[in-house]
């Protein structure tokens, strides 16, 4: 693991808010020349700390007005059922996130749908038919906020 100084942290904070900043613009913000800023970015990428980009879009404007988080408990367990479930869940286009968790549920899924009727269709045809699926709990997302995290 590499040590980060204040400048690295400032770079991470800036890029976490806007990944499209050029090395020049970033350098001006944190008081570095363009090549020096570029070298810092490269180092953070090589250390695996900067791990790509995330695009956030207005899902409503694109016709996906409903986002639902599902907590799913498997009815039967064992390695085979986990793999089958994961493969099938990942293949559903409306499923954006699949996470294996420990606790009240076995999996967490984020599902996008055009509206509640569309969500019901996805739930009945795609989710309830997943291999080994047991109890399912749905919570409709109202607001979401990304925080900068401990940098």
């Amino acid at each position: 693991m590499i040590d980060l100084d204040e400048t690295d942290r400032a770079i991470l904070r800036s890029l976490a808010a806007d990944a499209t900043l050029s090395a020049g613009a970033l350098g001006r913000r944190v008081g570095l020349s363009q090549p020096a800023a570029w070298r810092r970015i490269r180092r953070l990428e090589e250390a695996g700390i900067l791990a790509g980009r995330r695009i956030s879009v207005d899902r409503d404007a694109l016709g996906y007005g409903v986002t639902v988080f599902l907590g799913i408990k498997l009815a039967t367990k064992g390695r085979v059922s986990l793999e089958d479930f994961e493969r099938a869940a990942t293949a559903i286009p409306e499923v954006q996130i699949v996470q294996h968790v420990l606790g009240l549920f076995d999996y967490r899924l984020r599902v996008v749908a055009r509206d509640i009727a569309d969500f019901e269709r996805i739930l009945r045809r795609r989710i309830m038919t997943l291999p080994a699926v047991g109890q399912v709990e749905a919570n409709v997302l109202l607001t979401e906020e990304h925080r900068p995290g401990p940098i």
Binding site: G48, V98, V101, L104, H146
Partner: protein, 151 residues
């Protein structure tokens, strides 16, 4: 409104957010200048909200990630606002989401290890206002995490 070219560009961008505009243009079968102009316009219209760098917290030594699901005391009219404002002041909180359903609010919390997590949980989480119930899901692995929409 969005036409087919916009949708093609967005589909490619959402599938690979780290790709440059030139690559996105080529994959969409659109001239680079057109792609640049269209993406710029969609950003101005707020359809593309932000492009954020992803920070890999594991590479920074944060090995534990927990999804904490809260039920709040709804007899308290300011419960949501007060809870969310207080949650924002905890640096280890990465996401704040509100829901319609059995769960009211969800926080994504990271920690260096279980001991650090326990410390945060006791001193920063249990002290958040207006909690009536908490459930924890410990993240084992993320199998799919995509912003892609079936557009």
């Amino acid at each position: 409104m969005l036409d087919d070219t916009d949708r093609r560009l967005l589909r490619q961008l959402l599938a690979d957010p780290s790709a440059g505009t030139a690559d996105i243009a080529e994959r969409s079968g659109v001239a680079a200048a057109t792609a640049w102009r269209r993406l710029e316009r969609m950003t101005e219209q707020g359809i593309i909200r932000a492009q954020e760098a992803i920070i890999d917290w594991r590479a920074l030594g944060y090995e534990v990630e927990v999804s904490l699901r809260f039920t709040l005391d709804k007899t308290e009219p300011r419960a949501f606002d007060a809870f969310i404002a207080a949650a924002r002041s905890v640096p280890e909180v990465l996401n704040i989401e509100t829901f319609l359903g059995r769960v009211d609010v969800r926080l994504n919390v990271i920690a260096r290890d279980m001991r650090h997590y326990q410390e945060i949980y006791r001193s920063r989480i249990l002290t958040l206002p207006h909690i009536t119930d908490i459930e924890a899901l410990m993240l084992i692995s993320t199998i799919k995490n995509a912003e892609a929409l079936p557009i």
